[in-house]
Subunit: 205 residues, 2 copies
DNA sequence: CTTCCTCTACTGGTTTTCTGGTATATTTAC
DNA sequence: GTAAATATACCAGAAAACCAGTAGAGGAAG
């Protein structure tokens, strides 16, 4: 099995926790997604523990690529993110499970064994989050497109519709449509509320 | 030394990394703040590696309490948060340093040694963040009156000038003046930027 | 290949915000 | 008790945002 995580401390911890398991041998650990993809080209990996926040590419994207390159490799997401959308995105991209980093050693080892058997598993806290749809996140993050995100950030910086139209070489009518969609997706009345909520949710820095 | 972190994996990793250091003996590891405070009552701890996000209380608060209870105990923050405000809050509360969790083993060990000597240390990435301040964070918080704060919050909630005038029993021309003063005090072009910056500065929740 | 999504763009309007000024009670602070 | 800051209020016009509806081009996914 392999580990992909940009925190050396976490890698050490995992190695240590799994050292006691004779059937789980760690064949490689990586701090970037590309490093692992290179490794995967000429090595067989049964299961990979995959962090979602990586320096080069998102774990969500990486998961998809891994599954395309090596469908026999099971992917277990290991992350601090407990947003439902993250979990579902990972599963959608072929992950075999999702563990929070605060999982106990037992949870971790069990999940790896289950993943190796082809089962889909979650750490306990994730199960809770998945079963309680709206308590953990009273407001779901809306699905927002790349262009919309771009516009959203510019709005937060104080750019006006006309200014954005000019700098993005678009009609200002187009920008207005994006604006409208943002307001509608976030279910808010005006930009003030839009920026307020987007910032709270960490979508805008 | 002691470790407070809600991730068992991280605790394992740290134990492992520090096992090779004969002068650093780990006398306790804890997953909650209160557990550690109890331990601290009848144990001497030279240095504690402290996570900021804990299940019970914030590491920032905990740091303050530790320093009050045991001033001879050095606190090293260990976190994923790379916001300048976090770093400064920790230092303000008496931390001896701040490490990102993606720090290398060497950085970690060096920092612990330096902390033990009473020095203030940071991991490399934190040093960068601290030396290259973001433009928005340079901005000092403008002096804002009670009424203005009230209006600011209502704006962030999506209230319009007319709506606020009605709910506060004021002329809408008055609200417009407050609005204008807010824009002027924050030196911004429009509400979008106003809310963006006010939220970043924690003025609006 | 067809359906769905995203990005693009338009018409024609209403509402709200923003920008100049100006001005007067009422607190607050020294 | 006086000066400064704060909260209140007005006028008028320009600029920007918001609303409702429509629609084609292009890409992704099934």
């Amino acid at each position: 099995m392999a580990i992909v995580d940009d925190h050396p401390i976490v890698i050490e911890g995992l190695k240590n926790l799994l050292a006691a398991q004779p059937d789980l041998e760690i064949t490689g650990s990586f701090t970037t997604g590309t490093e692992f993809l290179v490794f995967l080209k000429d090595h067989v990996v049964d299961v990979v523990l995959l962090d979602i926040t990586l320096p080069d590419i998102s774990g969500i994207e990486l998961c998809k690529e891994i599954r395309m390159m090596a469908p026999q490799t099971f992917v277990l997401a290991l992350s601090n993110h407990n947003e439902r959308s993250m979990i579902f995105q990972m599963l959608h991209n072929g992950a075999s499970g999702y563990l929070l980093k605060n999982a106990s050693a037992n949870e971790l080892i069990n999940s790896i064994h289950e993943a190796l058997e082809g089962k889909v598993t979650f750490s306990n806290s994730i199960r809770e989050i998945m079963s309680m749809p709206h308590l953990t996140e009273f407001r779901e993050k809306p699905a927002i497109t790349k262009r919309e995100l771009e516009i959203l950030k510019l709005i937060a910086q104080g750019e006006t519709t006309a200014g954005m139209a000019e700098s993005l070489f678009l009609s200002k009518l187009t920008i207005e449509t994006h604006r409208r969609n943002l307001l509608q997706k976030f279910a808010v009345k005006n930009v003030a509320q839009l920026i307020s909520i987007a910032t709270q949710q960490g979508i805008v820095p």
